[in-house]
């Protein structure tokens, strides 16, 4: 068994938790803004984020991941999801698992059990990053303003995810559904992205959803 220190890292629900955009008071903006907004932003807050590393070509690894998560290990630039669970390729030996709030400890234990004896790593990075969801007909326009990466559906179909340069910084762009995109951002950059996205979305109309 592993010598890694595996423990529940999330404090209980009785402990007050502030999201990376707590100071922006997004709930005060719910339901306001233009009718038929071009862009709707939703803070997918306080989710579980796990970094998983292992040998992609080892069938014991890919099989173990499937056993633990019910998801196939995605190949380069892919993201697969089932319900609220998603698994994204980050590099040839690295993946990002995002799960509903509070499930990360159980999932880590399932992964470690299914992958016991293999050369792997599971790290809880929930505190370091967060997820913003953008949906609506004008999201692609906002992305085109922000990144040099080609976000046309021919190059960026649903199910693709890339880490790239965005508005002079870096983040991960994930295409989850036709008009739905996700940005995985560093927690410490949350305010910067919030300001940037407000500015870039203004001409299309921005709404904030719960």
């Amino acid at each position: 068994m592993t010598t890694a220190n595996v423990y529940q890292q999330r404090p209980g629900d009785d402990v007050k938790a502030e999201t990376p955009l707590h100071h922006a008071n997004l709930p005060s903006l719910f339901g306001k803004g233009r009718n038929n907004p071009g862009v709707t932003l939703r803070e997918r807050k306080l989710l579980g984020h796990l970094t998983l590393r292992g040998e992609a070509h080892d069938s014991a690894f890919s099989g173990g991941v499937h056993k633990a998560l019910g998801l196939e290990l995605p190949v380069a630039l892919g993201v697969v999801s089932q319900g609220e669970l998603s698994l994204q390729w980050m590099g040839p030996d690295e993946w990002l698992l995002i799960c509903p709030r509070g499930q990360e400890f159980a999932l880590e234990q399932q992964l470690r059990e299914a992958l016991a004896g293999l050369h792997i790593q599971v790290v809880n990075v929930s505190g370091g990053q967060t997820l913003l969801e953008l949906s609506g007909p004008s999201v692609r326009q906002v992305l085109m303003k922000s990144t040099s990466y080609d976000v046309h559906p021919d190059n960026f179909p649903v199910g693709k995810a890339v880490s790239t340069v965005f508005a002079k910084s870096q983040l991960i762009i994930r295409h989850m559904a036709e008009d739905t995109w996700e940005l995985v951002i560093r927690r410490s950059f949350a305010d910067y992205w919030w300001l940037w996205l407000q500015d870039a979305s203004a001409e299309y109309g921005l709404a904030i959803a719960e």
Partner: protein, 107 residues
């Protein structure tokens, strides 16, 4: 802006996602303690500075964060190929017009 092919992401990506990290294919001495000062100094500090084809180490810093190698012309900046660490370059010929090393020394 250059487009560079990342052998891990398997697609062309914008130059701003990458960083160059110097000369490629420099093996670390297996037993550093057995090296002379000159051998260790050569490994540590001395790098080729060719005019023409050069094999370089690059990292896809904003993407998959993997190192890989690139064969690049230091005069034209043309990148002939990129390949994974551990693989051998396909392009090694001297570019037309380059002065052979021996000839250059005789001058």
């Amino acid at each position: 802006m250059l487009q560079i092919f990342c052998p891990h992401c398997a697609e062309l990506r914008s130059e701003e996602e990458f960083h160059a990290s110097g000369q490629a294919h420099i093996p670390r001495p297996l037993d550093p303690a057995a090296c002379t000062d000159e051998q260790w100094g050569t490994y540590m500090f001395f790098r080729d500075n060719p005019r023409g084809i050069h094999h370089e180490l690059w990292i896809h810093a904003a993407g998959c964060r993997q190192y890989f190698n690139a064969t690049r012309d230091t005069v034209t900046y043309e990148i002939f190929e990129t390949y994974k660490i551990g693989e051998k370059p396909q392009v090694t010929a001297k570019p037309a017009g380059a002065v052979p090393e021996a000839a250059a020394r005789e001058e």
